[in-house]
């Protein structure tokens, strides 16, 4: 694979970038901070010393005007990438989002509108070269309207529907779209929250994601237990959802 990752300097994105680099795939990092990108690229390079050094370029999901240039840089460095992975996004608790509507606007814009725009840029390039792989991090929070993730979950619900439709529309043309729905994973994003049962580790999620990409799967719950958990949640009647705080 020749993969571009946005969000690959931290958390699950970092773990995916490392696993790809260690098995010999070429990786190009996109992110918001030059120094952070440089350090992560150095880390990836050291993990597979025989490969060319990992490249990087600035790209901020809050600034869609920079998407095309960032993907151009990735194309130039990798020589036409064939995989794009999006793990970047914003997260905030429901309390924080309710207290600050501007934050809510930013989060919904980044997680839904701008991520869709980024994916449109990416999938056009991939389709032009006969297809490829697009893996995007949505969330189990998008599976059902739930009290603690009303706003964050709605942004991911929109994203999940978009990704599902992309798969339907372009699968025959060789584009594999993977919608990743992680449950609770112990990363910097969730540090400080109390981990529920079945909380996952980033390395485990990364293994699942890389395998699902290799097998061109359209959807992935990870850790796997969350498929079952969300199946139950999706079927809970409304009067129960009104009562519980999950």
């Amino acid at each position: 694979m020749k993969a571009v990752i946005i969000g690959g300097t931290t958390g699950m994105g970092r773990a995916i970038a490392r696993q790809l680099a260690e098995r010999g795939d070429a990786v190009f990092l996109l992110g918001r901070e030059e120094d952070d990108l440089r350090r992560s690229a150095e880390d990836l390079t050291a993990r597979h010393p025989k490969r060319a050094p990992a490249g990087h370029a600035l790209c901020d999901l809050e600034r869609p005007e920079g998407f095309a240039a960032a993907l151009d840089a990735a194309d130039a460095a990798l020589g036409d990438f064939d995989a794009v992975i999006v793990t970047a996004g914003l997260f905030a608790t429901q309390d924080a989002l309710e207290a600050d509507v501007e934050l809510a606007r930013r989060l919904v814009t980044v997680n839904y509108a701008n991520t869709v725009v980024f994916c449109e840029h990416a999938r056009k390039r991939l389709l032009a070269r006969g297809g490829g792989r697009l893996a995007v991090f949505s969330s189990v929070a998008g599976d059902r309207g739930r009290k603690p993730v009303a706003i964050y979950g709605s942004s991911k619900a929109g994203l999940s529907v978009y990704l599902e439709a992309l798969d339907h529309k372009f699968h025959a043309q060789g584009l594999s779209v993977l919608c990743v729905k992680p449950g609770f994973v112990k990363t910097g994003m969730t540090a400080g929250l109390k981990p529920p049962p079945f909380a996952g580790e980033p390395e485990q999620v990364a293994r699942d994601v890389v395998r699902a990409m290799d097998r061109r799967r359209p959807m992935l719950y990870t850790p796997g237990m969350w498929a079952l958990v969300m199946l139950v949640i999706r079927w809970l009647p409304r009067f129960v959802m009104r009562k519980i705080n999950f």
């Binding site: 970092r14 260690e22 992560s40 050291a46 993990r47 990363t187 910097g188």
Partner: protein, 443 residues
């Protein structure tokens, strides 16, 4: 606060203290204003725990990037949360190994510096700090400095073995060692008593770069201190062949055993089996690094065998000057006091290093796990009194029960450490449960 719902942190010995970890990949950001940084929490006692009243400590483990590696020189620079586990996984297949490794691979580079860890090769290579070229640190006044053997040396030497009390370690640069294969040539020997043991360790030290021994520390009388000596060196390609060892598949200790699972009877049974499992008096084997360096890492969360009461480790070093009789007397006292576990390890240490509070000094180090009981304070006090009289000292990384007056009595270097602390952290903003206990820091 309700103790049932208050979050707690523990060291490896599982005695809890109220507190939570602040975690992020951005260690530089989260150490600003913080009082303490911990790594993977493998120190046994309270050195990585917040003092009473401080409830937040920084956890470095998400800051785990390699920042550069030069295959020509073996110089590696990485963020402080990079673990020895990852180091081994990534670099051993390419013929590189940590110059010094402690008895577990689940430690961070930052922790290895703060404890100035030693290993089976201490008599040849010294502590980990002897191989460190540079540290990037956040100091108590929030400034960031680089220190090393030729730069800010006072800070550097106070930080080696300084238990994180001189500043937050952000990055570590050190030199990896070249290894010829991924196998160890080990010679082991069944040894009948403590005197024989000391003689055997003395014989093995010049011949082998790595030595250590396991002692049955329940046995008294003539066979007191019987055990198994293990000496090793990296095998040459001609001895080991091309193939590397299989990746270790650790088991997990899934539950806490009851408090009484480790008792004199079960320990005696284990010790007898373990001793006689080594049927031949001498054996030579080719062994993988993992079972050689990290036998206990084969069972994740093995600390649960001691049950919810928790445990501690007593590790001290008796100086060579005190002679073999002092070690024999120590073993006599230890076996008499009881409370011992299957895990008792003896090791020859080489000369003292540069770290102002580093543990090793030329002599014999003995480490023994002990379940926490009503007797534990008395046992540790008695052992400490003996060690003070012998001119030895204890390993802070293992300690939870030493009294401040005992610690002062065994640490002639303490004044220099405190002077460095006075210079870099005059208000003693950086502190841990251990520093409050032993150095009288105030929250």
């Amino acid at each position: 606060m309700d103790p049932r719902t208050t979050p707690t942190l523990t060291g490896w010995g599982r005695l809890p203290a109220p507190g939570v970890e602040r975690l992020s990949e951005d260690l530089e950001r989260i150490t600003r204003g913080a009082v303490l940084t911990r790594g993977l929490g493998r120190s046994y006692g309270d050195s990585s725990l917040p003092a009473k009243g401080d409830d937040l400590v920084v956890g470095s483990r998400m800051a785990d990037r390699i920042l550069g590696f030069d295959p020509a020189t073996g110089v590696l620079r990485a963020e402080a949360g990079f673990s020895l586990f990852e180091l081994n996984r990534l670099f051993m297949p390419h013929g590189w190994f940590s110059p010094v490794t402690p008895g577990t691979k689940f430690v961070t580079l930052g922790g290895m510096v703060a404890s100035d860890v030693h290993g089976k090769n201490h008599h040849v290579e010294g502590c980990f700090g002897a191989h460190v070229r540079s540290l990037r640190m956040r100091l108590a006044d929030d400034s960031i400095v680089e220190c090393g053997p030729e730069q800010e040396t006072e800070l550097f030497h106070a930080t080696l073995g300084g238990m994180g009390l001189t500043g937050h370690i952000l990055e570590v640069e050190f030199v990896l060692a070249r290894i010829p294969t991924r196998w160890i040539h080990m010679e082991s020997e069944r040894v009948g008593s403590i005197d024989e043991f000391l003689a055997a360790l003395g014989r093995a030290a010049p011949a082998f770069p790595m030595t250590m021994g396991w002692i049955d520390c329940l046995h008294r009388g003539r066979a007191m201190g019987r055990g198994i000596l293990m000496a090793g060196r990296w095998a040459e390609a001609s001895e080991a062949g091309e193939r590397g060892p299989r990746d270790p598949r650790p088991l997990v200790m899934p539950v806490d055993l009851p408090n009484l699972a480790i008792n004199d009877l079960t320990v005696a049974a284990f010790n007898t089996l373990f001793y006689w499992k080594h049927l031949r008096r001498r054996a030579t084997t080719l062994i993988a690094p993992d079972p050689f360096f990290y036998p206990l890492d084969a069972i994740l969360q093995w600390n649960r065998v001691y049950g919810p009461r928790g445990f501690t480790q007593y590790q001290c070093v008796i100086p060579r000057a005190a002679g073999a009789p002092a070690v024999r007397e120590f073993m006599d006292l230890l076996t008499k006091l009881g409370g011992a576990s299957p895990l008792c390890v003896i090791k020859d240490c080489g000369p003292e290093g540069k770290g102002l509070l580093s543990f090793p000094l030329e002599g014999t180090s003995i480490a023994v796990d002990m379940a926490v009981s009503a007797e534990i304070q008395r046992i540790v006090d008695r052992l400490n009194e003996f060690v003070i009289a012998a001119g030895g000292r204890i390993y802070l990384t293992k300690d939870r029960f030493t009294r401040p007056e005992h610690f002062r009595a065994m640490e002639p270097r303490l004044e220099r450490f405190l002077a460095a602390r006075e210079k870099y952290d005059p208000h003693r903003r950086l502190r841990s449960g251990q520093s409050v206990r032993l150095l009288g820091d105030v929250v």
